[in-house]
């Protein structure tokens, strides 16, 4: 997933959590970069028609930006589910964040063929826990989505 996709995904999640525009500071925190770097990327996203920035309010995704963000979030969900369900990784959230930049959407599509994902993906993603709601974030009990998917 390229850097722009990681940013639109972060903005999308922040907009959900804040129920409004995403602040530059919160975006910088989520992306673990300086506010200046976040601002620079916001400018690039604006020039590509993916986001709009309003001074003192924050950044909001355009319709095109939302489509892109949902694709990126779906890719991220696939990575999390693949790590948790196939490779049995307990710390799947931390590892998904590490792997996200190198796993392209095309590769995620192939991984997706061997995992069961719910029809409501990526709406299944809970920004508060940074995980698909069907995955157990404690790593103790298996999820129940298989029945739901069937």
């Amino acid at each position: 997933m390229n850097t722009a996709d990681q940013y639109v995904k972060a903005i999308y999640l922040l907009q959900q959590m804040e129920n409004g525009p995403a602040s530059t500071g919160a975006l910088a925190d989520m992306m673990e970069v300086s506010p200046a770097s976040a601002n620079e990327m916001i400018g690039k996203l604006e020039s590509r028609g993916l986001a709009e920035h309003e001074k003192y309010k924050g950044v909001t995704l355009t319709d095109d930006g939302i489509v892109r963000a949902r694709d990126a979030l779906q890719t991220y969900c696939i990575i999390e589910r693949f790590l948790s369900n196939v490779l049995d990784v307990e710390e799947f959230r931390a590892e998904a964040r590490e792997l996200e930049p190198v796993i392209d959407g095309m590769i995620a599509d192939r991984l997706d063929t061997i995992i069961d994902r719910n029809a409501d993906c990526p709406d299944c993603f809970d920004p508060e826990t940074d995980a698909c709601k069907y995955l157990d974030v404690c790593g103790s009990e298996a999820e129940t989505e298989t029945e739901a998917a069937d």
Binding site: Q6, L87, V89, P101, V102, D109, R110, I114
Partner: protein
């Protein structure tokens, strides 16, 4: 891939190689099921040879990736578990669920090429020390990437000839 992504540890490297193993296993399983399930009208000798070669090559790539993981300082998921999981998934797939065999094969080769290319770039961007010699590691992955590129060319040639 995001600019500047780096592989910084044996653990991260092993995880990426495990993903490579799964991708190779998917290629092998799909080739096997195409071969087994589709009739002779759909699969002529040239396509049968292509699928058979794809399955053999994926098995070889998987073994080479496993050999690298074995030399890293990590715990690995036993390959049998991945094999069983992929087989369970494809064992239930009817032939009509697959897109055109050649198109599917092209996607397999292109995806694998892209994956190895991204991993090599991420290794080269990093100055981390791995348990395995970096030069040997990149050389092995570059060889595999080259074979995937040959695969893309071969499938493309057959597709063009049949247009």
């Amino acid at each position: 891939m995001s600019v500047g992504y780096q592989v910084t540890s044996d653990h991260q490297l092993a995880r990426l190689l495990q993903i490579g193993i799964v991708l190779e296993e998917v290629v092998e399983a799909r080739a096997y099921h195409h071969h087994e399930e589709l009739d002779e009208d759909t699969l002529d000798e040239e396509i049968r040879d292509l699928l058979s070669h794809a399955a053999e090559e994926s098995a070889d790539h998987r073994e080479r990736l496993e050999a690298i993981i074995d030399r890293l300082d990590v715990d690995s998921v036993p390959f049998e578990e991945i094999e069983a999981l992929v087989e369970a998934q494809y064992g239930q797939t009817k032939p009509e669920d697959f897109d055109g065999v050649l198109y599917d094969q092209l996607c397999n080769e292109e995806t694998a090429y892209k994956f190895y290319d991204d991993v090599i770039t991420a290794i080269e961007a990093s100055d981390a020390q791995f348990t395995i010699d970096r030069e040997e590691l990149v050389e092995t992955l570059a060889e595999i990437r080259e074979e995937e590129a040959d695969g893309v060319e071969e499938v493309t040639r057959i597709m063009e000839e049949r247009e």
